[in-house]
Structure formats: structure tokens, C-alpha cells
């Protein structure tokens, strides 16, 4: 016979107003197995919890039902109280008589009846409950950061400075990301490289950061605390342990006219190259699609020039495995392909990007402004190297445009366009900047003041309206648009046009997300677990996100989010073992027929195909087995198992049927 205590909460007036709590106590006390029933004004308060603890001790209770608010609210509170009193917490259940009863009903008698029934169900369940122990999962106390832009750098440094090892994986030959190529940053106009490169060096020299550049994540196995990552180190053809970074190879390379990826095609590089002088690691890489030795087997100049003997034309991709406990995805963004159709997203043929040399995108303009850029920071247009006297900036190219398929605001373009007009004016004093915009969105500390400065002090002309077409005539770009505030068409004869293209997630993010079971939104940005309360978590335990991979954002926001992700990683890594709720699937391995339907159905890949062997090591049988680290307790395996060998702890079929039977 059970000894169950029922504790009915008034929740002040919230429950007691509609439910007759005295009658409830009177009725449920009569239920078989109920040892005592009491009610109290606030069961969650200290006196309320004390009441539960004292009753457990004095009445030697072996089960507790608290009839109160939703278990989402206070189940943990009450279970903790039960545990303090020496009762296994999983022998306590909550009957929700507030959200599912008093709040949604007005008739006092009916609500009281319903409350009694809800409690009867809970009592029936508790009778069938058994003690459960929390699951302990060992933790590999190191993290992986994917992406070496400013977000990834910040996350990696924070985690490493907190004392944990970090494996950083970057696809490009150097870390630094997009920020390394920017000129100056809004709203303070501090030089991007000056603030970023020291942090890049910190990453490169940090004793706890292991850096894999020119590498990609090939596969991810395991689960929170226990990921095993396979990393593909792409053939670099340069042994970076031997190389000293002297740069003689690039100087000697005869193939110098390749478009530089770092300069977004605005400058050139040799076939063996370092993306930029401040690269970390400061080691070159050979472009295998261009190098004469690798494509035609003739040349070898760089190998001859290399005093360190670091060139290896026979280099191949290598696969490396790393064990980590948590993962941060900071894969960043790319720009929208302005001139061409890309899947469902249409191009902007009318702007002639890719057709007119002097129509460029905003990242290309950053390189023209940058002191380390192809023009050493002088604004010279690509077609003839002349200094442009009239520059048109067009915002929202691809953003906020239903017709082109990207409905969202890219958030940073208003700010960097204002910055572009300023920097341009600071370099070309007799130049005139023209901006076509839809709205100016400059929310942020000192942001709106910055835009006003661009307009009022640096004299940028702002037109609220769209540009309909750009044509070329006698070396001028004819920009035709509208000024909707003045109600007039505007034509500007420009020397250079800069398009603020929409931000999109970097290439390959969807595939990477699939490897980690992380979701993407309709535009391919990584999905957070909850937009407000879990903004850097994902639905996969142990995987966190930050930076522009999640949504368009600027540097301060990326950095803040990266630190947030890093602190979440530190929580995950803070103990040698992770404690998880034990309410997960259990498979009866003795009777499992090993059909593995559950293996196919499990959305979390938490079912393993296991073998049972006897002491001699002979195979006794095969069975499905639940990986306690991965199982989320969703119950899909329970419903699909044809032989009823799967069950969810804490929600067993026996418990559920007992609840139903108590009602009928």
C-alpha cells in the first residue's frame, strides 16, 4: 500500500478563487493510497516547502503529488524540496490545476471536480513511479570553434583564457575573416586591422589554442561533452613548420596576375601567396588551380628560392581527428550575388554589376579605402585608376526586397554606407557622395549621430528612393533613380557606384549544420534555440552559435554574442561530468528483436546498434541501445517499436495507462 501525500496550493487567489480547495482536500484524502492531504496559500513559498518536507518525514511518505501551477513553473522547486527530505525526486508529480483548470474555467463546481480528477490521475501515476537517478556523462573539457573571423576569434580567446583548450578550424589560409579586410569601423572610425590583428596574433600564440587553417570540418560524431570531429586539412603545398614566412617564394613566383580573394578581386596575387601581410599563420599557400608546377609540372621556382625547403608539391589533404566537448559555430557571411540569379533569388541586372567595372560592392570598396588594399588606401576606380569625383552608394541591394527573394534587413549597411561616404570625403576633398536609401536604420550607441555627421559635416547627399537603372555613357555611369521626398526623378552622372549588397550566410553552412544536427532558417542562417532566452544555443546540446552566421550583425554585436557563446561553452565544460535528467528512453535489451526501426526513426541519432557478448566474447544477440548522452526523451522510438521494448523513464506506458484508467 502506498503512502502518498497530496499538497493543494491556492496560488493566492489564482486557484482558490475558482477551485474549492477545502473540498478538493476532503475528496482526494479518500483516494486509496493517499496518506494525507492538505492545502496552503502558497505551496512554493518557504513555509509551503517546509510543510512538504515535514510531512514526508512525519508520515513516511513514499510519493507526493503537488496540485499547483504548471510543472514548467515549479516542478524542479518541489522535487528539490522532496529530495532534501530524503525522497527520490522522481517520486513527486505535479497536477496542474492552475493553467489547465482554474485559469481556464469559471464555474466553481465544475472546476473543483476537474481539479479532483487531475489529482486522481497524478496519484495513479505516482503509485507507478519508481526512483530514478540522474545520468552522468563524462566531458572532454576542450572546445572547437569553427570560423576564424572576429566572432570566432573572440569566442576562442574567451574559452582559452578561461583555461580550456580550443581547436579552431578556419577554411581560409589565414584567420581574420571579413573584418581583416575592412578599412575603418563605425562609429568610431578606428582602423579595423589595428584592432583585429593583435587579437589574431593572440590566437596564433595562445598556448591553449590549436589552429587549423585552410581546413574544414569533414564529419562530426558523438554528443555533448563527447564530440569527435574529423577535420580535413587541405593540401597547402607548404610545410608551415619549416616555412619562416620570409616571402621570397611569392616574390619569385612568375604567375602574379591572379585575382586576390582577400581583395575581392580588386587586386592581384601570385600563385603562391599569403592572403595579406598580417596573416595568421604568416605562411603562404599554393593555389593548385593556377600554379604551373601543379597544373603542368613545369616551374618549381618557389621551391628553388625557398631556403627552408618548405615547399612540397606532393602535399595531399590530411584527415585529423579531434575530441571536444562543445562546439561554437562562427562561420560568418558572404555577400548576395548582385548580378546573377542564385537559386530562387533573382539578380539585379539593372545595376550592371559584373558588367561595368566601376560598379562594385561594398566589400570591394572597403579594400579601395584600406591602407593595406590594392591602391594603398587611395580611392581609385577599377576601370582606369582615376579618382572618382562623384560616387553613388545604393543601399538595400537585395535586402528588404520581396521581388528578389531576401525579405530581411541586413542591418549594417546603413551604417557602413554612412562610413563609406565619410571616408571617401576624407580622402577626396572635392568629391561628392550620393546615397540612395529606403530608410536609415541606425539604432545603436552613437550610431544615429554618426549618420548625421556623414550628412551634415561631410556633406553626403541622401536621396530617399530607389535606383531604377545604371547605364554607361562616355565613361560615366548614369544612375537614374527617384527622390521620393522631393517627388522628383534624380539622375547622377557617377564615376563609381558602390552597392550595399545583402548579407547571406557563408557557403556550405547548411551542410555543416546538418553534420551537427543544427537547424537553419529559410535563408540559411543558423537557428538559435530560442530567439530571446537562448540566443546562442542551438537545439543540439553542446553546440553554440555566434556572429553573422546566425543573422546579419555588426562587429560589436558579433563580439558580444561570441563572448556569450564562450560563456555557455565554459558552463558545459565546467564539470568533469555532465548531469542530465534521467527521463530518457530505455530499451529492454533482453527482449529487443533488433529490427532497428527505432535506429531509423530517432531524430537525434541516439540509438546505437549494439552486440551482447558472453564472457567468452561470443555473440549472444544484437540489440538496440540508447545513448544516454544523446537521447532527448521524445518518445519516437516508443511509438515505433513493434515489440514494445522501448519505454520512456518517468513516462512509462504503465504510468500513462494508470492515469487513463483512473479517469474511466
Amino acid at each position: 500500500m502506498s503512502r502518498i501525500g497530496v499538497f493543494v496550493c491556492w496560488c493566492g487567489e489564482n486557484i482558490a478563487r475558482t477551485v474549492d480547495v477545502d473540498r478538493v482536500v476532503e475528496e482526494v484524502a479518500k483516494l486509496p493510497g493517499v496518506r494525507c492531504a492538505v492545502n496552503y496559500k502558497y505551496m512554493c513559498s518557504d513555509p509551503g516547502q517546509t510543510m512538504i518536507r515535514e510531512k514526508i518525514a512525519s508520515e513516511k511518505l513514499d510519493g507526493v503529488v503537488v496540485a499547483s501551477c504548471s510543472p514548467h513553473m515549479h516542478l524542479k522547486t518541489f522535487r528539490k524540496a522532496a529530495q532534501t527530505a530524503g525522497l527520490n525526486p522522481y517520486l513527486l508529480e505535479v497536477a496542474n490545476i492552475r493553467e489547465q483548470c482554474s485559469w481556464v474555467h469559471s464555474d466553481r463546481d465544475e472546476a473543483t471536480e476537474k481539479a479532483i480528477e487531475l489529482i486522481r490521475m497524478a496519484v495513479a501515476k505516482v503509485k507507478n513511479n519508481h526512483a530514478l537517478q540522474p545520468i552522468k556523462v563524462p566531458v572532454t573539457r576542450r572546445a572547437m570553434v569553427v570560423g576564424g573571423g572576429v566572432a570566432g576569434i573572440q569566442a576562442a580567446l574567451d574559452i582559452a583564457d578561461a583555461g580550456y583548450e580550443v581547436v579552431m578550424v578556419e577554411r581560409e589560409p589565414s584567420i581574420g575573416g571579413k573584418m581583416a579586410g575592412l578599412s575603418e569601423t563605425f562609429p568610431t572610425l578606428d582602423c579595423s586591422q589595428c584592432i583585429l590583428t593583435p587579437r589574431m596574433v593572440d590566437v596564433g600564440q595562445h598556448p591553449r589554442i590549436k589552429l587549423y587553417t585552410y581546413s574544414e570540418v569533414e564529419a562530426v560524431d558523438g554528443f555533448v561533452g563527447n564530440f569527435e570531429v574529423t577535420i580535413r586539412q587541405k593540401a597547402r603545398y607548404v610545410d608551415i613548420t619549416k616555412c619562416t614566412g620570409c616571402g621570397e617564394c611569392s616574390k619569385a613566383c612568375p604567375l602574379k596576375k591572379n585575382k586576390s580573394e582577400f581583395d575581392f578581386g580588386m587586386g592581384t596575387r601570385s600563385a603562391i601567396y599569403m592572403p595579406f601581410p598580417q596573416a595568421v599563420p604568416a605562411r603562404p599557400v599554393i593555389d593548385k588551380n593556377v600554379c604551373a608546377m601543379l597544373t603542368r609540372g613545369k616551374c618549381g621556382v618557389c621551391a628553388k628560392k625557398c631556403a627552408a625547403g618548405a615547399i612540397n608539391y606532393k602535399d595531399e589533404d590530411k584527415l585529423v581527428k579531434e575530441k571536444v566537448g562543445a562546439v561554437v559555430l562562427a562561420t560568418g557571411y558572404k555577400l548576395y550575388s548582385i548580378g546573377k540569379q542564385d537559386g530562387k533569388i533573382a539578380g539585379y541586372g539593372e545595376y550592371g554589376y559584373g558588367m561595368y567595372k566601376d560598379v562594385i560592392d561594398s566589400l570591394q570598396f572597403e579594400r579601395l579605402l584600406s591602407a593595406s588594399g590594392p591602391t594603398n588606401g587611395e580611392v581609385k576606380r577599377p576601370s582606369d585608376g582615376k579618382t572618382p569625383k562623384n560616387v553613388v552608394f545604393i543601399s538595400c541591394v537585395g535586402s528588404r526586397d520581396n521581388a528578389k527573394g531576401l525579405t530581411y534587413c541586413s542591418k549594417i549597411c546603413c551604417m557602413y554606407t554612412a562610413k563609406h561616404t565619410m571616408l571617401y570625403k576624407h580622402k577626396v576633398h572635392d568629391g561628392q557622395a550620393h546615397v540612395f536609401y529606403m530608410d536609415i536604420r541606425s539604432a545603436g550607441k552613437n550610431y544615429d549621430e554618426f549618420v548625421r555627421r556623414a550628412i551634415e559635416q561631410d556633406g553626403a547627399k541622401y536621396y530617399r528612393g530607389r535606383v531604377s537603372k545604371i547605364t554607361e555613357q562616355n565613361g560615366k555611369l548614369i544612375v537614374r533613380g527617384a527622390d521620393t521626398l522631393a517627388g522628383t526623378p534624380v539622375t547622377v552622372e557617377a564615376d563609381l557606384v558602390v552597392l550595399a549588397a545583402a548579407m547571406r550566410p557563408a557557403d556550405g553552412v547548411t551542410e555543416l549544420a546538418q553534420k551537427l544536427n543544427v537547424g537553419c532558417d529559410q535563408f540559411g542562417f543558423l537557428m538559435e534555440s530560442h530567439p530571446k532566452l537562448r540566443p546562442v544555443e542551438t537545439n543540439t546540446a553542446g553546440v553554440y552559435i555566434c556572429g553573422a552566421a546566425q543573422a546579419p550583425k555588426d562587429i560589436p554585436e558579433s563580439v558580444a554574442q561570441a563572448s556569450a557563446a564562450a560563456s555557455k561553452v565554459q558552463i558545459t565544460l565546467s564539470a568533469a561530468e555532465l548531469t542530465r535528467e534521467p527521463e530518457i528512453a530505455r530499451i529492454n535489451e533482453k527482449t529487443c528483436a533488433a529490427c532497428f526501426r527505432c535506429f531509423e526513426a530517432c531524430p537525434y541519432h541516439a540509438i546505437e546498434k549494439a552486440e551482447v557478448r558472453n564472457r567468452k566474447g561470443e555473440l549472444v544477440k544484437r540489440t538496440a541501445r540508447v545513448n544516454a548522452g544523446l537521447c532527448m526523451g521524445c518518445g519516437t522510438c516508443v511509438s515505433i517499436c513493434p515489440s514494445k521494448n522501448a519505454d520512456i523513464e518517468g513516462f512509462t506506458e504503465q504510468e500513462t495507462y494508470a492515469m487513463i484508467e483512473s479517469l474511466i
Binding site: Q341, A346, E350, G352, M355, T471, Q473, I478
Partner: protein, 280 residues
């Protein structure tokens, strides 16, 4: 190959030269054009500015006729006609109530035929087929491909090529051996029907088109629309008089160029009936 043919008012009237060229060209390509029996006006600009339902009912009747006459692909060489037909088709296919109403009005079911503009019709014949049929490559011809405002717009109705930077005509012209020039005014408006109401506007717009084509090295302009041809060809002398420039620009229909490359005589194609430029 058999294709249905919807001439529309223009090709039976002012642009008879277009019909002559079209028939000669498709004949040489071994394509038989079967004219829709009992066709009516597509409604053009007039209908949709006055009565929305009428602007759908008129093309709907033609589509119903096409269905009745077993026509699966219907060539409408006038860009206004092809657009109106496509527009009606789109409106009906997305709206069951409207479809029922139209069936009642035109007393038949207006479904079926795939509507092709001239470029689509030639693409249907096949770029490779055309290429192999070329007998006299147009080697020395530098030509500006002019789409006008209607062939690609509105993009959701026309569903044809890049709305702002189309390339399909260039591909055909290149297959004939000619050199298409890169220029700015491919999809600008020539003034179209305004030629009747406000000639000044038409002269201004068409002048810009001709001037830009000339500035980019074109010796001639190729069109796929009867109205564009009227404004650039017939009005060319008026433009020249008003702006004091001499263009002397031959304006070809796209089928003219295909026909010439296939070895047809200019006279067969009706090119001698054009007004401007050197008569080839």
C-alpha cells in the same frame, strides 16, 4: 514542326512585313505555322486600361479557340499579344472562380496552349537546329538586340529571361554569326502606342535608343515587336529631322536576320519594305 500562330492586329495590318518575314523564315526552318481560326484582338493597351475583365476575356477567347483547335503551342510574334495571352492564362490558372466566369463569358474553356513570343518560338525550334541551317553567316553585322519594355516585363507574367539584362536574343544572333553589341537600352521603352497620341515623347525615347545603339558600335537594331519596329524604323526619319542627326540604322525583325542567315533574299523577307537604313 507544327506551331499555332496568333498574328494579332498588327501583323495583319501595319506590320504586314513582319508577317511576311515570319512566314518565310519559319518556312525555311521547316516549321509550319497554323493560323488560329476566327481569332480576335488581344485587347492590347486599350482593354486593360478600361475594363479588367474585358482584358482577360479577350485573350481568354483566343486561348479557348487554341484549345478547341488542338493547338498546344501558340506563337504570338507581337510582344503585346504574347504578354496579354500569358497574363490571362496566369490570372485564370490561379483563380478557379475567374476561370469559371471566363468559361461562361467566352463559352468555352480557355486552357491549354503554351504561349511563345518570337524569341521563345525560335528557341523552341532550337539554337542548334538554327545554327546548322545557317548558310550565309552574318559575319560583318554588329547588331544591338532590342527587347523593348514588354518582352520581359512584368517578370512574373512574362517568365522569360532576365528582366533587366536579357541575353536570349543575343544567343540567337550569335548563332547566326553576327556580333551582338553590349549596350544600355535593351529593355527601355520606345514610346510604343504613344506614337499615335504624343509623337514628341516617342521621338525622344526612340532617339535615345538609336543613339545608344550607335554609340556602342551597332550598325543595326534587331527587334521582336511590331510596335518597336514602327517607332525605330518608320519614325527614324522624323527623329533624324528633329534631332539633326543621321542614324541610317536598319531595323530588323529577329526573323529577318534568321532568314538572311538561312540564305533567303531580303525581298522574300520583306526587308525592302522597311523605311530606314540601307536596304540590304
Amino acid at each position: 514542326m507544327n506551331l499555332g500562330y496568333y498574328p494579332g492586329c498588327a501583323l495583319h495590318g501595319s506590320s504586314d512585313d513582319y508577317q511576311q518575314s515570319l512566314k518565310a523564315c519559319f518556312g525555311a526552318l521547316d516549321v509550319s505555322l497554323k493560323e488560329l481560326d476566327d481569332w480576335i484582338c488581344c485587347g492590347a493597351t486599350a482593354a486593360h486600361t478600361l475594363n479588367h475583365k474585358l482584358s482577360i476575356a479577350l485573350p481568354a477567347r483566343n486561348l479557348a479557340l487554341a484549345a478547341q483547335q488542338g493547338c498546344e503551342e501558340l506563337v504570338a510574334p507581337c510582344s503585346m499579344c504574347s504578354l496579354q495571352l500569358k497574363k490571362a492564362q496566369k490570372a485564370i490558372s490561379g483563380d478557379a472562380l475567374l476561370a469559371a466566369e471566363m468559361s461562361r463569358i467566352v463559352e468555352a474553356k480557355p486552357d491549354g496552349a503554351r504561349v511563345l513570343n518570337l524569341i521563345e518560338a525560335l528557341e523552341r525550334v532550337g539554337l542548334e537546329t538554327i545554327k546548322t541551317a545557317v548558310k550565309a553567316p552574318l559575319k560583318d553585322l554588329k547588331v544591338a538586340c532590342y527587347y523593348g519594355c514588354l518582352l520581359t516585363r512584368p517578370p512574373k507574367v512574362a517568365e522569360f529571361d532576365d528582366c533587366e539584362q536579357p541575353e536570349s536574343m543575343e544567343r540567337i544572333v550569335a548563332a547566326l554569326g553576327a556580333t551582338p553589341v553590349a549596350w544600355n537600352y535593351k529593355t527601355e521603352c520606345c514610346g510604343a502606342g504613344m506614337t499615335m497620341a504624343d509623337e514628341d515623347t516617342v521621338l525622344e525615347l526612340s532617339q535615345k535608343i538609336l543613339a545608344d545603339a550607335a554609340a556602342h558600335g551597332a550598325q543595326s537594331v534587331v527587334v521582336a515587336c511590331p510596335m518597336c519596329h514602327v517607332n525605330l524604323d518608320m519614325k527614324q526619319s522624323a527623329i533624324e529631322a528633329r534631332y539633326g542627326t543621321k542614324f541610317g540604322m536598319t531595323i530588323y525583325y529577329l526573323c529577318d536576320l534568321v532568314g538572311l542567315a538561312l540564305g533567303l533574299a531580303p525581298k522574300t523577307l520583306g526587308i525592302n519594305r522597311h523605311f530606314a537604313g540601307r536596304i540590304a
